[in-house]
């Protein structure tokens, strides 16, 4: 309110000195009154912001848009294997250089992803991530996505470097319903 009031006052004095038109002063006063009226009316309306953090449910009242870009999730394919093939394209696309990957080769006995290579280490440094979504855009296998995790603030900068284990969806959530039973049985 203060801001708009000030703007109007500046306008008034400018117009007055430029034109010397006294009628305009009256017009301006009416305008201020009208503006203040809206402000006052709104002031007595019920609050319409989200009741975060005191709301119900796991989100504690926060409501997120579908395309909200929150903490990343590394996805799994329909067999439960990691989708990431450690191609480093997300790291290359990242404008704030916060993705660190170490690649390794799948062997016959240890198979982590469906291609020859998988990410042995996959870190995102949330001190630096600007949630631009370029990594998601770059990923050829749709392995990295933006999830809806948003309570990322911390007083300890080292805890903001998230490792693959922090980002990877669990086997159960990553699988279609039909496979979940199997996954549960296996684990």
């Amino acid at each position: 309110m203060g801001y708009f009031g000030l703007r109007s006052a500046v306008k008034i004095s400018q117009r007055a000195s430029y034109t010397g038109d006294h009628m305009s002063i009256i017009k301006n006063v009416t305008a201020i009154a009208k503006g203040m009226g809206i402000t006052l009316r709104e002031g007595f309306q019920p609050t319409e912001v989200e009741n975060y953090p005191d709301g119900k449910g796991p989100l504690r009242g926060a409501r997120l848009e579908q395309r909200f870009r929150g903490k990343h999730e590394l996805q799994r394919d329909e067999n439960g294997l990691e989708k990431c093939v450690a191609c480093f394209l997300c790291a290359a696309a990242c404008p704030s250089n916060c993705i660190y990957i170490e690649a390794a080769e799948n062997t016959e006995t240890v198979r982590i992803s469906s291609a020859e290579r998988y990410a042995k280490v996959y870190n995102i440094d949330y001190n630096r991530c600007i949630f631009c979504g370029y990594c998601v855009e770059a990923c050829p296998t749709d392995a990295i996505t933006h999830g809806h995790g948003f309570e990322l603030a911390s007083l300890n900068a080292t805890s903001m470097v998230m490792r693959k284990e922090d980002l990877l969806v669990s086997i159960k959530t990553g699988l279609p319903d039909a496979n979940k039973v199997h996954a549960e049985a296996v684990s």
Partner: protein
């Protein structure tokens, strides 16, 4: 050939007749895409990517097989050409997996680039792709068949370039596949395999990700690494190798070696060791903390301060109590020139002894002294450079087996014979592989090289042919040294000579005077200007009598006359088969990467950096000087340069007289002193700063800056005075020849002092067992080889 004029894309160009259109365009900055064409290899015309429109020709023509002709008018880019190339790509991609995200070539793949450029990403083929599993052909060569675009570069590279012919084509037409020389039926594990030199040249030549490197595959991606071009540490040929490094917790680690910029004197080439044997640097057995032997006889990790103080003080005590000549110093043939120079300066001016030597792998002293004062027919010095082997019209190879010991020399000889029709003469006691390229071969009895040199004087076919050569380069193996070598040099009065040595800086160690009887640049211990300068700078007058050589030091140690031994980057105990008990009464300091046979006997061990972890310069066997760059880094180790300086400091020596650094340079450590205190001597002490000023160089501000010593080397070492900094700094090599006169003639001492390392393609002295790759390849070759022979019966 006469020049012809022709037009490409409206530009008027001129090139010698006979030049390939693709090459002529490249020199004019017009790039024509090509998959099967590879400079220097035979023409294949298999891929049709290089098609261009040549006026008056009925169809598009291949630029890689067309030679330029007078009046030719060529268009290299047009919608028609783009369409043709796009169609070629679509055919290639018909059965291509398109797994660029996991493919090792992704990011540096010629097919990927072309697909991107011509927009051929979509394919008209609905048929399922024909998948084949990857094959491991050897520990270092893997083959992914679906990615192969059948350009045959690998086949030609291995056959023509390497003269191995390990790769071939099986089947015909669209079923053609590239196959290695050991068929599954012949291999112990029933998989196709390669029995070859494991050089990886086929991988380098492959335009796509079909052939991939066993040590690098699936580790990272090309844009994730820093690429540092430096000089290979293994043999004495001086190849430039580009190391891909990435940062890790303990510094930065080398993930890949290859020949990315091809700007070195090795051109396209790298052998197995230069490409893959960097892994010793990442070995977990590396020392990363100084060790000091405790009263219980065990080596225990201690702090740097404690170890350096202990070593420095003890060395000082022993010097003062037992005399400087009771101390010996052994240098390395893998450290930089700066470190070698510094080490001998340390021995001569800090300790004050000439007891300094290194493991000599070739007799460079004889080479320098025998060639001094002589010139070729056109008045040039007679020291051959590696570049001469590549270009000279005639080469005589006496002794040695470059294919195994100096692979680049062998490559250059082969290339020269193949492309320039150079005449190769070989005299050897074995049927070495290069005999296949030789115009004439003279069999020599083992140990019969003296007789062979005598036979050069008589008129037989071989000697007549050799002597008729006007521009002859003689490459001498390590069988010849001392008197025999001098005799050979005298027998071929106008030829240029090169000695084959082992390891990156054998020549440098000799040139830098890591020898008991000569100063740097093979100058005399007595009367040379350097001798008097060392006398002025050192705390003790440099003795003008030769010191003990390497074996002499161990003899003295056995006799109880050696109070201390300082070994830098060398393993003499193993190398010379010395009995460990010889050192039981000697205080031993060792600087090394690993706990070698020598290091376990030491009282103090300092963990040292290797050649890939430091800056400086090295000189290859031929005398080609190059800069090395710091690629990797490891926490807990220090360069030999720094260690020598720190040891001198703890010894109680004024470091400024050892490394000329800092602003107070002019008065050699006595800042503010303008020379008055030393009267007539002041001119000597000022020399370095006067020289720096005259050469527009700044004084170096750190005692650990190798360039401060490079300045001094340039100032005082004959031959190195002509070094061109800009040449070196821009990554070029420069050939150095020792001074033409004033060199000492040394009495031939013990013959066993020169001990060739006899390294093969898959060994590299003490580093061999610390390189898992070399071990793997040795095992692979052994198993494939035995079975290969067995099946031949």
């Amino acid at each position: 050939m006469p020049d012809v004029n022709f037009i490409v894309d409206g530009k008027k160009l001129t090139a010698p007749a006979g030049t390939l259109l693709i090459d002529a365009c490249k020199s004019a900055g017009i790039e024509i895409p090509a998959f099967c064409y590879y400079p220097g290899l035979s023409l294949q015309a298999a891929c049709r990517m290089c098609v261009v429109r040549i006026e008056k020709a009925p169809k598009l023509g291949t630029a890689c097989t067309t030679t330029v002709a007078e009046g030719m008018n060529v268009t290299t880019e047009s919608p028609e050409i783009a369409q043709a190339r796009k169609a070629t790509l679509q055919l290639l991609l018909g059965n291509h997996p398109l797994d660029c995200p996991v493919c090792d070539a992704g990011g540096e793949c010629e097919l990927q680039d072309m697909t991107f450029k011509y927009g051929a990403a979509d394919s008209f083929y609905a048929e399922p792709k024909n998948h084949r599993e990857e094959q491991k052909w050897s520990p270092v060569v893997y083959f992914d068949r679906p990615r192969c675009i059948l350009c045959y570069r690998c086949v030609r590279m291995c056959g023509e370039g390497m003269d191995i012919f390990a790769l071939g084509v099986q089947n015909r037409g669209s079923s053609s596949i590239i196959a290695p020389n050991v068929a599954p039926s012949e291999s112990p594990d029933h998989m196709a395999a390669l029995d070859c030199e494991q050089c990886g040249m086929c991988i380098d030549a492959c335009p796509v990700g079909a052939l991939t490197s066993g040590t690098y595959r699936y580790k990272t991606r090309p844009w994730e690494m820093n690429h540092v071009a430096t000089v290979c540490t293994h043999c004495g040929d001086g190849c430039k190798t580009t190391l891909g490094v990435r940062s890790v917790n303990e510094g930065s680690e080398i993930v890949r070696g290859d020949n990315r910029d091809k700007s070195g004197m090795n051109g396209d080439f790298l052998c197995n060791k230069g490409r893959y044997a960097f892994d010793f640097a990442n070995n977990i057995e590396r020392l990363s903390s100084p060790l000091v032997r405790q009263s219980d006889g065990k080596l225990k990790p201690v702090s740097w301060e404690e170890a350096l103080t202990f070593a420095g003080k003890k060395l000082r005590e022993l010097r003062d109590a037992k005399g400087a000549n009771s101390i010996g110093v052994i240098g390395s043939n893998r450290t930089t020139n700066e470190e070698s120079y510094l080490l001998q300066k340390f021995a001569r001016t800090v300790i004050g002894t000439n007891n300094i030597d290194h493991h000599r792998t070739a007799d460079f002293v004889t080479l320098a002294t025998a060639l001094q004062g002589t010139t070729t027919a056109d008045g040039k010095p007679r020291f051959a450079s590696q570049r001469c082997v590549e270009k000279s019209p005639a080469i005589l190879l006496i002794g040695g087996d470059p294919t195994n010991e100096a692979p680049l020399t062998a490559w250059n000889i082969r290339t020269n014979v193949r492309l320039n029709k150079a005449r190769l003469y070989v005299a050897n006691h074995q049927d070495i592989k290069l005999k296949r390229q030789a115009k004439a071969f003279a069999p020599v009895a083992e140990f019969g090289y003296a007789a062979f040199i005598d036979s050069l004087a008589s008129a037989n076919d071989f000697s007549t042919a050799v002597k008729a050569e006007e521009k002859l380069v003689v490459v001498v193996g390590n069988e010849l040294r001392g008197g025999e070598l001098a005799k050979l040099i005298a027998a071929l009065p106008h030829a240029k000579f090169a000695l084959l040595a082992d390891y990156a800086n054998s020549r440098g160690a000799s040139d830098m005077g890591v020898l008991p009887d000569v100063l740097p640049g093979y100058q005399s211990l007595k009367g040379s200007t350097l001798a008097s300068e060392y006398g002025a700078a050192g705390q003790s007058q440099v003795a003008d009598a030769p010191g003990l050589d390497l074996l002499g030091m161990f003899d003295a140690a056995s006799a109880g006359h050696l109070s201390a031994l300082y070994v830098v980057g060398s393993n003499p105990i193993k190398r010379f088969g010395i009995d460990a008990s010889a050192l039981k009464n000697t205080f031993v300091i060792v600087q090394d990467m690993f706990l070698t046979e020598t290091a376990v006997l030491a009282d103090v061990v300092f963990p040292a950096a290797n050649l890939y972890e430091k800056a400086g310069s090295v000189t290859n066997s031929y005398g080609d000087l190059q800069l090395v760059a710091k690629a990797a880094d490891k926490a807990g180790v220090r360069s030999d340069f720094e260690l020598i300086v720190r040891l001198a400091d703890k010894f109680g020596h004024d470091v400024k007289t050892l490394v000329p650094f800092g602003k107070g340079l002019r008065a050699a450590g006595m800042s503010g002193d303008m020379g008055q205190t030393r009267g007539a001597q002041s001119g000597e002490a000022d020399r370095h700063s006067v020289w720096l000023t005259a050469n527009n160089l700044e004084p170096k501000l750190s005692p650990f800056d190798p360039f401060a010593i490079l300045d001094e080397i340039q100032r005082v070492v004959p031959g190195y005075d002509k070094l061109l900094r800009l040449q070196l700094l821009s990554g070029n090599d420069q050939h150095i020849a020792p001074a033409a006169s004033g060199l000492v003639q040394i009495q031939t001492g013990r013959k066993d002092l020169v001990l060739p390392a006899a390294d093969t393609l898959f060994t590299s002295g003490s580093l061999t067992r610390f390189s898992p790759m070399l071990q793997d390849v040795q095992r692979h070759q052994a198993s494939e080889h035995t079975d290969h022979l067995a099946s031949a019966d």
